[in-house]
Each structure stands twice: as C-alpha cells, then as structure tokens.
C-alpha cells in the first residue's frame, strides 16, 4: 500500500486540481517549478530552518494541561504550542517558506488574503523582514471584528484593503486577491494562507506546515513513551490541521480529528461546516467539499471565529474524510468559547478562538476515550486578537469603560 504521506497532488482522490483562469496559469506554473526545485535544494532547506530557529522560535514546545484535562474525562491532554510562534500562530511557518520562494522568483511584492488576520500579520511580517512590498486583502466584516490585527499589519508597513463585495469575509478576500494578482502578476507573488486553492498550494502549504506534526510526534513520544491515541485540530481551510496530521497519517493507531466551526449549530443556516454539511464543488481553484446551494452558488459561512469562517476546505481533508483516515466533527461558537474560557482559567493560556474549537473537540473526545487516552491538540494560535470578542461574549467590560 502506498503511504498516505506521499500524496503530492494535484489530486487527492477526486479532490484538488487546478481550476483557474488562464491569465493566472503562468504564475502558478512558475511557483510550482520554484517550489519543486526548492524541495531538493539544501540551501533553501537550511535557510528556512535557520529562520524557524532564530526568528519564529522553533521548535515550539508541547505543554501538558492536567487541570484542563480534568474537564475532559481525565484523559492526558497535550498542547502543541504554535501560539508561541513569532506573530502568534502557525501561519508564519508557511509564510516564511513562500516568502523565500518569492525572493527566488525575483518578485518584489507579496499579496495575501486573511480572515482572522493571522495570515495577514505573518505575511506583513515576512514582507518587513525581506524588504518586500505587501498588500493584504481582508473582508470588511473581518476588519471590524479583528481590528487589532489590521493595526498590526499597518504597523508592519503593509497596505490593508478592506473588501466590501460579496459576504465581505475570507472567501471574498480571496476573490479580490485573485483579481489583484491577475493585474500585477509580473511583480507580485500571491502568498496563499491555507492548504486549499489550486495546485500546488494545498501540497505546498501542507509541506511548509507539516513541521508541526513532525516535531510534535517526537515530543509526545519523548514525554509519554507512546504515540498519541488522537490528534485534534480545528479546520477552516485546514492548514494547521494538515500540518499536525501529516506526520501521523501512516500511524494506523493514531486517530485524527478535525473540528469544523459549527457557528450557531450545523442544523441552523449559520455555520461553516463544509465537510459535515457541504457537497463537492469547485471554489478558488480546487474541487472539494463546499457549502453551496442547488445552483452551485457559494453559501456564506458563519462562525464567531474569522479564521474558520470559510465555506470550503482543503482538498486533502476532503479526501482523508472520504477514505475514513480522519474524522471531521462540528464544534459550535458556544462550545468553543466555553473551551477558551476553561483553558484560560485552568492553565493560564488564552487560545485563539479558532484553536478553541479544537479544545472543545478534545473535551468531547476525552470523555469518549477515557482516562487512559493521550490526546494531542494543535493550539494553532493565541487569543490576544480575540480579547475584544471574548470580552463582549462573556460581558467582561466595565460599563462605559474605554481604553484611550
């Protein structure tokens, strides 16, 4: 049997591909070639490894959280601390790789979409580090609910474009970034933030993120003497999830769980559970599960977490779901926010709302798997950006108080 870890695209089963306008094919071919060349290039590998060590702060640590685990059926719960990376999430792993490729392509400007702003902040950071121009596209709804990250990107020297078309969230930010890319492709590289989009992005973003699982697999072995029974991550487009899953794909004893944002609940019309409630279709260049109506019009997703508020999902996840290698389950806004508060109070770690969906999932799994289970959770980002949202959700602000 072929190892699951060897899948390189463009197709993962019947998912993936490259459904794109001809105007962008040359640029995509160019990235594909640069990426393929970089794989066997020790100079590239060393340069990226050095950045991980001296700039991002890799390897990220793991932290066992027993006080939190008391609320999860007593299972051992171990967090992979991507929240401790420079810029506050796993997004930097991929961005540094793609920024290095941009330099190799001789391009002087990078553009990116962002939902929660974490990928935008990471991209703006890499642009500052490498001396590249940078424009970030962000839906107007997200620029409002993640205003702090907008300011961070501007502080880093990036231009932030608020996208006012369509649903004014992540999917429309991607549409607008594609439009800008078509217009400026000679000077500009598109640093795509998640393991979705046309080939080679799903495979390339995964390869830049798989360091998460490679480190964590070794770290859990050293700590516990065994592989985890379950690996858990939140899934929007799915880059942090595929990043931590990948190292375990060929370990049959390790169960993989992705938690999609269920918003108000998957039985309402306000959720972002593409695998749970979508059906296969093409969006943003790849065939995958998609929230869409009978006519193939994309349905707007909803989640309290801007980073998971996306109606599609990466094609490798669609495939892993179909073949039964990974299980995808929903977690609601309420469950995620309760998990966020619980981790904050029991362990002194404030997670990103995105990552809190994985924590909510781990609490549920802990009760199912029992006290002997070892559960590895990808804590993909920190919650600093979400304090305003949490403050409103839990009514934490003093009446009339304003920070001047």
């Amino acid at each position: 049997m072929t190892a699951l870890r060897n899948e390189q695209g463009p197709y993962f089963g019947e998912y993936g591909g490259r459904y794109m306008p001809e105007s962008l094919i040359a640029a995509i071919d160019e990235i594909t070639a640069a990426y393929e060349a970089s794989k066997s290039d020790p100079v590239f590998r060393d340069e990226l490894a050095e950045l991980h060590r001296t700039y991002t702060g890799r390897p990220s640590i793991i932290t066992e959280v027993p006080r939190f685990a008391e609320h999860a059926g007593g299972a051992r719960i171990i967090l992979k601390r991507e929240d401790l990376n420079h810029t506050g999430s796993h997004k930097i792993n991929n961005v540094l790789g793609q920024a290095l490729l941009t330099k190799r392509l001789g391009k002087t400007r990078i553009i990116a979409e962002t939902g929660a702003g974490q990928h935008g902040v990471a991209t703006a950071t890499a642009a500052a580090l490498f001396g590249l121009e940078c424009t970030i596209f962000m839906g107007e709804v997200d620029t409002q609910r993640q205003a702090l990250n907008v300011a961070r990107m501007r502080l880093l020297g990036a231009e932030v474009v608020s996208v006012t078309t369509g649903s004014r969230t992540l999917k429309d930010a991607i549409n607008e970034a594609y439009r800008e890319w078509v217009t400026s492709v000679e000077t500009t590289n598109y640093v795509f933030g998640t393991a979705a989009g046309p080939h080679p992005f799903p495979a390339m973003v995964r390869d830049f993120q798989k360091i998460i699982g490679e480190e964590a697999r070794q770290q859990v072995l050293e700590l516990t003497g065994q592989l985890p029974d379950a690996v858990v991550a939140c899934v929007g487009g799915g880059s942090n999830a595929i990043g931590i899953f990948h190292a375990f794909l060929d370990d049959p004893g390790v169960r993989l769980f992705g938690f999609e944002a269920a918003g108000d609940g998957v039985d309402t019309d306000r959720h972002a559970a593409s695998i749970e409630r979508g059906r296969p279709g093409v969006l943003h260049g790849a065939r995958s599960y998609l929230l869409q109506d009978e006519d193939g019009q994309t349905i707007e997703s909803h989640s309290i977490s801007a980073g998971l508020d996306y109606p599609g999902v990466g094609p490798e996840h669609a495939w892993l779901s179909d073949i039964g290698r990974a299980t995808y389950l929903p977690a609601t806004d309420t469950e995620a926010m309760e998990a966020l508060r619980l981790l904050s109070r029991t362990e002194g770690i404030i997670p990103a709302i995105e990552s809190a969906h994985a924590l909510a999932g781990a609490m549920r799994l802990g009760h199912e798997l029992g006290p002997d289970a070892v559960i590895l959770v990808n804590l993909s980002g920190r919650g600093d950006k979400d304090v305003a949202t949490a403050g409103r959700w839990f009514d934490l602000f003093d009446e009339g108080a304003r920070q001047e």
């Binding site: 001809e22 549409n175 439009r179 006519d295």
Partner: protein, 265 residues
Amino acid sequence: MITTAPTVASIIAARKAAGHGTFVAYLPVGFPDLATSIDAAVALAENGADILELGVPYSDPVMDGLVIQQATQHALAQGFRLRDVFTAVEAIRARVDIPVLVMTYWNPVMQYGVDRFADALVSAGGSGLITPDITPDSAADWIATSDRTGLDRVFLAAPTSTDARLAQTVQATRGFVYAVSTMGITGLRIDVDAAARTLVSRLEKAGSEINCVGIGISNADQVHQVLQYADGAIVGTALVKALADGGIDKLAQTAAALASGTSLD
C-alpha cells in the same frame, strides 16, 4: 419554434466577407431583472451586436471588475436561478436570429450536471459556452460533452500563456479563441493593450483561425482599432454600465455607437 441559430463561426465569416469585424456584446442574465435582461439582449441584437454573450451571475466572479460584479450581485439578490439562463436564451432566440453564447464560471455548470446543462442549452437554442475559470487541461468532461452536443466551447488565451499552452487552447477551442487583451479583470480602460495585438499574432501562429479580443474595450475607436488585427471585439462593462445608468434606451445607443466601429474601411 426556434430555428437553428447561425453558427458563431459562420457569422464571423459573413461579417468579414462584408468588410466588417464582429461585435460580441455581453450582458448578465437577470440584471436588473429577468424580463428586462431579455429585452436588453434583444436591443443589443437590434442595434448592431453580431453575437451575444450572456453572463451567468455567480457568487464568486474572480475575473470580473466592480461594474459587472455589482450587476451580477444584484441579479443574485433578486433571486436569479440557473434555469433562468435557458429561459432567457430561448426568449431571445425566439425574437432575434443571433448566436447566443453563455459565459459561465464552472461550478454552477458542474452542479447542474455538465450533460444536463448542455442539453438544456441546446434545447433553448444556445450556441455554446465561454468558460473563464477553467482551462482545457481541466475541462475533459466539458470537451466530451461539447463534442457530443456540437456546442461551441470558447476558452481564453492570455498574454502570459506559453506557446505550448496557446497551441493546446487553439486545439481545444471551437467558435473563437477569447484573447484577453491585458493582464487584468473586466472593466473600462483608456488604452487597449498592445499586448492584445501580439497575442492575436501568436494565436495565429499557433493555428487559430478566429480570434476575438476582450477586456477593456469600451468605445467605437477601440473596437475599430482591435478589429484591424482580430476577427471580433468583445464589449461587456461599457454595456452593463449603460444599462445600469440609463436603461434600455441608453444601452441601445451605446451598442449602436460601438457597432459603428466595426467597419474595416
């Protein structure tokens, strides 16, 4: 009873024989509403358009500029359904004898069923599809279906396309090759790129017999200029803007003005 439409290729050849280039006119179905969009398309045909390109409103139109985005978003908000496309094609073909191509992003066709969509389009009297967000190497099912039904399939070529890809596109295309004039999305531009002339000449070298240029063409002078080297000029945004600003009267005037640029004298 709808008669069989003259083919896209035969219209372009007839225009050429008469000393004219071809004017391809775009409007989205359902803007500002279904009935008006049908009347508007008929008005185009009666005011000098040689071929109609009917756009399918889609939630994620990555190749469209703001004017067309706003029109198609309006149509979706008004409750546009995919089946309205066939209603529109049939109604237009009952009133004017002009080939109608449907311009559509791919997911709606895929969800409707490629064969089912093609059969419905044939029944309605449509001539084929223009597919802006797929390329021949991702379109095996559409190529098979269009071979079965005889529908035209218009693929796009870009200034950045390699010679090998141009050859593949020319090979796969039937009707005309849609030469993208400039690196960008739909919208008005002051100068239609010199890149268009180079691209058409490269397409000819790759064996293409019929080439139409689109994106950025908005007045009769630009139509005239493009038709010096291309078989057809495709206009969208300028027409959508006219319809949005001044209704069918303004649209008819704009179309007639654009058509005045097609004489090759």
